[in-house]
């Protein structure tokens, strides 16, 4: 019983996702009041009818009371979480007890993040975003919604099963030698070759990384690239997983892989199934387009089969077409959110993916658009805030400034779409104070519109889309395959048993831990495998599942305490003893004194790094006030011990883990 709905203020459904139970529930309720045929439009209608009173009441409350609903809970423990972003109301529902309020709010924020990555600055104009999310063409709409639904499902699956998405930090495969080799490979061979090729069509590879399932094997950023934010990296991992889902919970690596795949893709996997024993020539570059076709569409088929909605045949997109993603870059003069990039996900083998992130030739335009948008927003704020007289005076100056700059920019760009803007810019030659604010709003909308035209509209089917040429992509794929051929099976196993508790014999009674470096957005944790097929130290099935549930609930509990300002928590729960610590260090590793932690309201953005980076945006900013000019690092440690272990010993363990984990030499596995 799960649902996520995005609606406009006028109760128009902009997006929805439901699981089959929820869909059934809606259909039953709607069926009782009105008999109607099923099918996509009918279901969309019924969900919109049933939610409309809530949505309308929401906007009434905002208009007349200045307050808005944040959640409802019913006696049978259905939870509704509501959040409004600009003019879009998000509603997430859970009726099966699997998600709490915090998880639902997180889902809403993650959905918003994914929409931002997908639509960039268009999200800044509610009007445009509404049209973007709900295309008039039903087929196009179905395709878009299906894609977003897939992302949401992939995210939910990862959050429930993957520790790195539980704590929202990136997990690295711990194998320093191989990691180093791969980085060298990416730098010296792959990125260099791609960026020096003539077939790159003006694109430039900024980041390249190799994922084994959700874990990072190697990451390389070219010299003139700004660093990739953890939030964006996590979002990209979700996208890659959505394109090439790895059934990490089910499949065993090696000969049995093919068993879990769709028949259609079997030949593809068979080819690799005997790897390691066959002659190397067997694996050499055969990744013909048809191969990639089949593997990607196989993934898509699986998604669609899982999907609760009636499958509307969506033609698989050309795999060599990159996805447009909008990511944050940090320039010399500050952060620029939602800058256009192209994302290439090249599957090497099932579960192993090479991801390339390129800068597109026109990206400088986006930078300018953002600057202008910011200037207009500032102007609007200034006009809104001040007294009429002084604001107008200040506004005048600012307007002249913006106008001349924009004018110059438009003339320089020499593009058609900008000319419209020029007209409206000039329309305000004789402005009056009261008309300035609407004018600002209008200019912002127009800028967003131009941005949309530049970066979101696919070029027609006739012309070739802007991209690295398919041949170049193939070459990159082949090179990476050659590089990792011998390591492939090892990597697939390793990704499941990255670290194991066996490596920590000096910590009797320690059952599990998670350590996160929030400054780099990376985490270390022993793997928690809960499937029947693989045995971990925790045993199989139920026991491991029990521990896993405990860990998951511990994380949400400690977040609740953190939200209220508590940075140390210990809990004796049943037979276990849980600890949570958050602390700060400076660059030299010197422990800084614990300070005040900001208190967050209940409905604030969830604590994490994926949807909104709490640690760098809120916590470190707050803490660094007293540590000006110093680099402050933030760490978290969670441990699970047996309850019978004396507290002093437990605390000693924690201390040892905290000091050792990030020092490679002393980590048993590094």
């Amino acid at each position: 019983m799960k649902c996520l709905l995005i609606a406009s203020e006028s109760a128009e459904v902009l997006f929805y996702w439901t699981d089959p139970e929820f869909q059934q529930n809606i259909q039953q309720q709607y069926g009782s009041s009105q008999e109607e045929g099923q099918g996509l439009p009918a279901f969309e209608d019924s969900i919109s009818t049933l939610f409309a009173p809530i949505i309308i009441s929401c906007s009434t409350m905002v208009d007349r009371l200045g307050d808005s609903y944040t959640s409802f809970t019913t006696e049978n423990n259905h939870i509704y979480v509501l959040h409004q972003f600009d003019e879009c109301l998000y509603i997430a529902v859970n009726g099966d007890g699997e998600e709490g309020e915090d998880a639902l709010r997180r889902k809403i924020y993650v959905m918003k993040k994914m929409i931002e990555v997908r639509f960039g600055m268009v999200t800044l104009s509610s009007n445009l975003l509404r049209r973007e999310l709900r295309p008039q063409d039903t087929e196009q709409r179905a395709r878009l919604w299906k894609h977003l639904q897939g992302l949401l499902e992939t995210y939910s699956h990862l959050r429930e099963n993957d520790q790195s998405f539980l704590v929202e930090a990136v997990e690295r495969l711990i194998h320093p030698t191989l990691c180093e080799q791969c980085i060298e490979f990416l730098e010296r061979r792959l990125v260099q070759q791609l960026n020096s090729s003539a077939e790159r069509a003006g694109e430039e590879v900024l980041h390249a990384f190799i994922l084994v399932h959700t874990k990072l094997l190697a990451f390389y950023s070219s010299r003139n690239a700004s660093s990739l934010a953890t939030s964006d990296l996590l979002a990209l991992i979700i996208m890659a997983q959505n394109m090439y889902p790895s059934n990490v919970d089910q499949d065993d690596p090696g000969p049995e892989v093919g068993k879990f795949q769709k028949p259609r893709t079997r030949h593809h996997h068979k080819m690799f199934s005997t790897s390691g024993s066959g002659p190397e020539s067997f694996y050499t570059p055969e990744p013909s387009p048809t191969d990639r076709d089949s593997s990607s569409s196989g993934g898509l088929c699986r998604r669609m089969a899982e999907d609760s909605l009636q499958a509307l045949e969506v033609p698989p997109p050309d795999p060599s077409t990159p996805r447009r993603v909008f990511l944050e870059i940090s320039g010399k003069d500050g952060l620029y959110p939602m800058m256009p990039h192209s994302l290439y996900c090249l599957p090497l083998w099932p579960g192993i993916t090479l991801v390339l992130l390129t800068k597109i030739p026109t990206s400088a335009v986006a930078l300018s658009v953002y600057k202008f948008l910011e200037a207009f927003a500032k102007l609007e704020k200034c006009l809104n805030g001040g007294q009429e007289g002084s604001a107008a005076a200040r506004g005048q100056l600012a307007i002249h400034d913006i106008r001349s700059k924009l004018d110059k920019f438009i003339k320089a760009s020499q593009q058609n779409c900008w000319m419209i803007l020029l007209n409206s810019l000039r329309s305000c030659l004789y402005f009056y104070f009261y008309s300035l604010i609407p004018w600002c709003k209008n200019m912002k909308t127009q800028l967003c519109g131009i941005y949309r035209q530049c970066f979101l509209i696919d070029s027609g089917p006739g012309d070739f889309p802007q991209r690295l040429s398919p041949r170049l992509q193939e070459r990159a794929q082949t090179m990476a395959q050659e590089k990792l051929m011998d390591w492939k099976d090892f990597l697939l196993v390793k990704s499941k048993r990255n670290i194991t508790m066996v490596s920590y014999p000096d910590f009797p009674g320690l059952i599990h831990f998670i350590c996160v470096d929030r400054s780099t957005g990376q985490m270390i944790a022993p793997s928690l495998s809960t499937t029947e097929r693989t045995t971990s130290e925790l045993g199989k099935g139920p026991v491991a599942q029990f521990i896993k549930n405990k860990v998951w609930s511990l994380v949400s509990t400690t977040r609740n305490f953190l939200r209220k300002g508590y940075s140390t928590v210990t809990l004796r729960d049943g037979d276990f003893y849980f600890c949570y610590f958050l602390w700060f260090e400076n660059e030299m590793g010197y422990k800084l004194e614990a300070g005040d932690i900001p208190l967050l309201p209940d409905d604030s953005a969830p604590i994490g790094m994926l949807a909104w980076d709490y640690y760098s945006r809120k916590l470190l900013r707050y803490y660094s006030k007293n540590h000006q000019g110093e680099v402050v690092r933030c760490y978290e440690l969670l441990t699970v011990h047996l309850g019978v272990i004396p507290t002093e010993i437990i605390l000693q363990h924690c201390r040892q883990l905290a000091s050792k984990l990030w020092e490679p030499s002393r980590n048993p596995l590094l």
Partner: protein, 655 residues
């Protein structure tokens, strides 16, 4: 009761117990007379809104929302805003409950949160600011509705029989009564206010318990409690019932103060309405409770404990405790058993006469509806004495036919309630004609009334037990469980009050009343004299913050022991209060959680809980400054040891 008011007046009053009580009463009488706005506004920061909305009155397009508003607090809220809130919340509530096929319980806004109760067309909402734990708000709303039903029976019926103003005054009264106690801690745990047992000679508490037990020698007396200046001295009832009784006590206190008190005014009584489970619990003898406790797990166990006066169980630590309790308990049992056998006999033998008597005038049952009419209207004029005499005369006319009648009716009463209450924990959800009840009925028959079967009238009797229900619960709304009228008898000696829940026949039984009155009068006077001399505040205790703060909550008796002064220190922003509130709701949510230490930059608080208790402890001073990195020498982790050690002298044993 002055619980709610001390917070308000506390800032200006030094001795918390006495004067705040008077102030509270003063406040309340003012509240009732209507000059309330200032005081209410002060409170608005705590509970912002409370309303009852009747959706059945607003059905057509033309109906205005205001017609459905039965009560709205704060009353001075502009009608537009009242309509907005009622209309929107009730509308959204209905929509969500339709989507989920279940009533809405909690509704949060950015700035407020509301506990919701939806029953039939009624929609209650109690709104608090966002920092109050939601569990506490929900609990308070339930208490509020419960309280109303305790004094007025079914809500629907009350609104049919009484003017809206009368009932609004009642809601206002109960709402104020339930406003948070003197400190934030009381608000978090919503606990009973008790006298500070550390200052009182334990013998006095024992004496109070003995008075209550002595009263129970009269078979018509079910249970009682003794209150002193609005605080519980000793009670035989569950905390919930005690809380309800205290509302009326404070009201009569206000009256006793205003009118020149005579001896007559010292004794008063009114009708109250108990749920079948409450009644069953009160009526079952301790022996039976022991028997039944294994079948109804867990919940009865605590109740059993409260039944033994709470003062006793509280002051005695462990072993000595049980031996102490032995003697007082046995006379208690003794006194009860004749009562039972008596009623049993009456059931056995005069079965035919009973059935002939019933259609004529089944005393307690059928007079009820007219009676409740008769009761409410006088009360509207706030003429309690008149009300009472009215009732008494009514009963001496109608009910005085024969002793047999009473007995017969009473036993049917007993029988029925025990039948109905058979489903123990679920009693609140009790419904007429529920299949579950049939079963329990059978069980009860098998166990208790084997003799009846042998006598050949078992089935007839069973029918009787079942039949009288509809007249009682003559509600249109089958959702509401029927409540059984009982008498609440109050005997006041200055600040001391003896409150007894009795069978309705008690008032018509002059002999029993006389006996109870006279047997307890001397002891009550003595007790009052002694309690009156106890210094209200132990010198030096408040204001001097010790090296530590603790709060010890007894979940079963619903009492709180703390060394945190009720007033300035108990502010919600106090780190200890904040941590306690957070941990308490976490304990509520996680059943397996036993102990926790949480630390912010300013404070480390340790919380631990067992089945019966929750204890919170914070140590002052010491070097809190630390890096936050795990360190076994960290003072925060020595809190459990310190708490164990320090709290022993407060009678809190954490081992």
């Amino acid at each position: 009761m002055h619980g709610p008011c001390t917070g308000l007046f506390g800032q200006c009053l030094v001795p918390p117990v006495d004067s705040s009580f008077d102030a509270a009463i003063g406040f309340q009488s003012r509240a009732r007379s209507g000059s309330t706005s200032q005081a209410l506004l002060n409170r608005a920061s705590r509970c912002s809104y409370f309303f009852l909305y009747d959706g059945s009155k607003v059905k057509g397009e033309g109906d205005r929302t205001r017609e459905g508003i039965c009560y709205f607090y704060p009353e001075e809220t502009p009608v537009d805003k009242q309509e907005l809130l009622c209309g929107q919340l009730a509308g959204v509530g209905r929509c969500v409950s339709e989507l989920s096929s279940s009533p809405v319980r909690i509704l949060r806004l950015r700035r407020n949160k509301y506990a919701i109760r939806m029953e039939g067309h009624f929609f209650w909402a109690l709104g608090c600011s966002a920092d109050v734990p939601i569990a506490s708000v929900c609990e308070r709303l339930d208490q509020l509705i419960d309280l109303f039903c305790f004094y007025s029976d079914s809500v629907r019926q009350s609104y049919q029989l009484n003017s809206q103003e009368t009932l609004s005054a009642r809601w206002a009264q109960y709402f104020l009564h339930l406003q948070p106690g003197s400190s934030e801690l009381h608000r978090i745990f919503s606990c009973l206010r008790t006298i500070d047992s550390t200052n009182v000679d334990p013998l006095l508490l024992l004496k109070a318990a003995l008075i209550l037990q002595a009263c129970q020698r009269c078979p018509l007396v079910l249970a009682g409690c003794i209150l002193f200046r609005g605080r519980v001295v000793s009670t035989q009832m569950s905390p919930e019932l005690t809380m309800k009784v205290m509302v009326h006590e404070s009201e009569t206190y206000a009256k006793a103060q205003s009118s020149s008190s005579s001896l007559d005014a010292a004794v008063s009584s009114i009708t109250v309405f108990l749920t079948t489970s409450e009644l069953q619990y009160l009526q079952s003898a301790p022996v039976h409770k022991d028997l039944s406790s294994h079948s109804t797990p867990h919940r009865d166990a605590p109740q059993k404990k409260t039944r033994l006066s709470r003062t006793l169980s509280e002051m005695a630590s462990t072993e000595s405790d049980s031996s102490d309790l032995g003697p007082p308990q046995s006379p208690h049992k003794m006194s009860f058993s004749p009562c039972l056998s008596e009623s049993d006999n009456s059931v056995f033998s005069p079965a035919p006469s009973q059935s002939t008597a019933d259609p004529l005038n089944p005393p307690p049952q059928s007079p009820e509806p007219p009676f409740s009419n008769g009761r409410h209207s006088p009360e509207a004029e706030e003429e309690e004495a008149l009300d009472e005499s009215c009732y008494q005369s009514f009963h001496s006319n109608g009910g005085g036919d024969s002793q047999v009648h009473h007995e017969g009716g009473g036993s049917a009463f007993d029988e029925r309630s025990s039948l109905n209450g058979g489903d123990g924990d679920a009693a609140r959800d009790f419904r007429v004609g529920d299949s579950g009840n049939e079963e329990s009925h059978d069980d009860e028959d098998d166990g208790a009334a084997v003799g009846n079967r042998e006598g050949g009238c078992g089935s007839a009797q069973g029918d009787q037990g079942e039949d009288p229900l509809p007249p009682y619960g003559g509600f249109e709304n089958p959702e509401e469980s029927p409540r059984i009228p009982m008498m609440l008898y109050l005997h006041r000696v200055k600040g001391l009050v003896l409150a007894l829940l009795t069978d309705p026949r008690f008032l018509s039984d002059e002999a029993s009343m006389e006996e109870v009155y006279h047997s307890s009068l001397a002891s009550l006077n003595g007790l009052e004299a002694h309690l009156g001399t106890v210094p209200p505040v132990p010198p030096g205790a408040p204001g001097a913050p010790g090296p530590y703060i603790f709060a010890h909550f007894d979940c079963i008796q619903s009492t709180l022991t703390t060394n945190l002064s009720g007033r300035p220190g108990g502010a919600p922003e106090h780190p200890f209060v904040r941590a306690t509130s957070l941990l308490h709701s976490h304990f509520c949510n996680t059943k397996t959680l036993q102990e926790a230490i949480i630390r912010s930059a300013g404070a480390a608080v340790y919380g631990t809980r067992s089945v019966a208790h929750e204890t919170y402890f914070q140590q002052h001073g010491g070097s809190l400054r630390n890096s936050g990195i795990p360190n076994h020498q960290d003072s925060a982790f020595s809190l459990p040891g310190k708490a164990r050690h320090r709290l022993l002298k407060h009678g809190v044993n954490l081992l």
